[in-house]
Subunit: 337 residues, 2 copies
């Protein structure tokens, strides 16, 4: 079976063939096919958004996805969390010498499929090869750009006391599925990553509001989970938050797996969920809009923003106790994305 060689990253003929026969065929679009080291495209006057993510997940394939689809979802979602419409992605590959070219093809085709489904094009890229023992099969860094509509003003710094906190679906599914795949654990029940592009969901959420300015914050709770995302936004906004654990959607199998693994589900990574914070008057409408979308069917209001305890998140547990919800210090789950 053919494998990645140093020559595939050296700028010569071997690299040219890899680009022509693999990347251009899979990503096929006029901007990429132009064959320059850049992509040029028309944009309207206004605000653009840019975001980047390096993907180093292990294993490369897991129930519900692989590094290819994930590398598209991760960056599409980071762009979408601004309220922008993602348009174009770049993709930079760091390949380990000896990696199977057939496995790379499967990953690249998965990226291409994820991009088509999300309505974005992969328009420019780069390929580097590192020796065995200096990488781990493939790392993929994607960067996305998108256009931001007028009147949208979403930032982790805009949470205000009284705002409602919503989540788009059940939590911790990505982290638990990846960990089970990595460790070869049979944890019972179906554990499957939630990895998905959220730009379509964000679009219907914004369309459902009488004024997009009522949606204050969006964040996808990836590494560090819901706990990290909420604490970050509480700190950015200088507000407190109160979350009711009983309201946070969590599938039984996932809860059981977390208990077995000693993980706090609120600290476990998601790749197809978002947290939204909006004015109280808009919360019910936003919830209805989310629930009408396939990726938000189990959306829920899970808490509210308060003026007390700025920078901290209080959790009312299922047992009725109150405790601080802390972000993880370190790595409950390394290399999860």
């Amino acid at each position: 079976m053919s494998r990645v060689e140093a020559a595939h990253g050296a700028g010569g003929r071997a690299m040219g063939r890899l680009i022509d026969e693999l990347f251009r065929q899979a990503f096929d679009n006029p901007l990429l096919n132009a064959g320059d080291d850049f992509a040029a495209f028309e944009v309207p006057a206004g605000r653009m958004v840019m975001s980047t993510d390096a993907h180093v997940i292990t294993p490369l394939t897991f129930p519900g996805g692989d590094i290819g689809a994930l590398s598209v979802h991760g960056t599409v979602n980071d762009v979408a969390m601004s309220g922008a419409r993602p348009l174009y992605l770049s993709a930079a590959f760091i390949l380990e010498e000896g990696f199977s070219l057939e496995a790379l093809r499967v990953i690249v085709e998965s990226m291409a499929r994820a991009a088509r489904e999300a309505g974005v094009s992969i328009v420019t890229g780069d390929t580097k090869v590192v020796p065995r023992g200096k990488g781990d099969g493939v790392y993929i860094t994607t960067t996305g750009v998108g256009v931001l509509g007028e009147g949208i003003n979403i930032s982790g710094s805009r949470a205000r006391a009284g705002d409602r906190i919503l989540i788009s679906g059940p939590i911790a599914e990505h982290g638990v599925a990846v960990l089970a795949a990595r460790e070869g654990l049979a944890l019972g029940g179906e554990l499957r990553s939630d990895s998905a592009a959220l730009n379509g969901l964000v679009e219907v959420m914004l369309a459902g509001l009488d004024n997009p300015d009522r949606l204050h914050c969006l964040r996808d709770p990836t590494r560090g989970g819901v706990a990290a995302a909420l604490n970050e936004m509480a700190a950015q906004s200088g507000v407190g938050m109160r979350i009711d654990e009983a309201l946070v959607p969590l599938r039984t199998e996932v809860a059981a797996a977390c208990e077995l693994l000693g993980l706090e589900p609120l600290q476990v990574a998601n790749e197809g969920r978002l947290i939204a914070i909006c004015e109280p008057e808009s919360a019910d409408g936003l919830l209805a809009a989310m629930r009408a979308h396939p990726l938000g069917e189990q959306a829920a209001i899970i808490g509210e923003v308060v003026g007390d305890d700025p920078g901290r998140v209080a959790l009312r547990t299922r047992l009725g106790a109150e405790r601080w919800l802390e972000p993880p210090h370190g790595e409950p789950l390394p290399r999860i994305c």
Copy 2:
């Protein structure tokens, strides 16, 4: 001495501190400081350009630069080779566990300096940590966006028979300097990478033309050197090219080092040089504009585009013989950028 730990890539407090105390301090700008997972900025209506590069160079520091400055120059140059004005960069770091945080600080500060000098801002980023033996200190993927002025229409596909081929300065300096540093070779004379941001040079080149459309192609001859860049453009444009080796600037020390190492200078990577292809009537003016800029003082016209032998590059050697100038098949110099 403090070292990179898995926790620095896990999305929790350790990562937050690394971002606050290292990246935000060094890159300091309002877009990055907003603290969201994206950067939003205003753009005028028109064409934008996007390009990306993963940097896996070894050693991390070499005479004339380091991976930090290189990661800015590489992407600024790819954007500038469209004729666009680079504005914003993203930066994604893949750190190996155990890497010195002090070494990382030096690299990040070098990036920040290179960005300031090139007039671009690093506005969004990502940090991942991989275990020992799955990386090599630090890999940096940068992506750049820029705005393309009206009437500029530069692509490797626009070379036409009769066009003149120019180069901005002496070749092979980056590759030879990095190889000497990697292997600990004392090759005599000063070997120093040419790593530099070329957007300022491109700006004066375009400003000097009565019509920017007369400049047909720009390319920075990085991996695979001048040979790869010319062959790529000859293939893209469906034209032949004739290069006169005696006209290609090459410092004596670099020529001697290449001979010693068995390298063809035309196949060795540059990181601060560009090839320009323009209409014959504009060549002298373009050359004069290049020579008036510090990064183009030794610019030269090195050949011309022809209708014969489409997709091939003919070299008239210093000895007067004619041969095909081939791109390297593989890696005369792996991990050169």
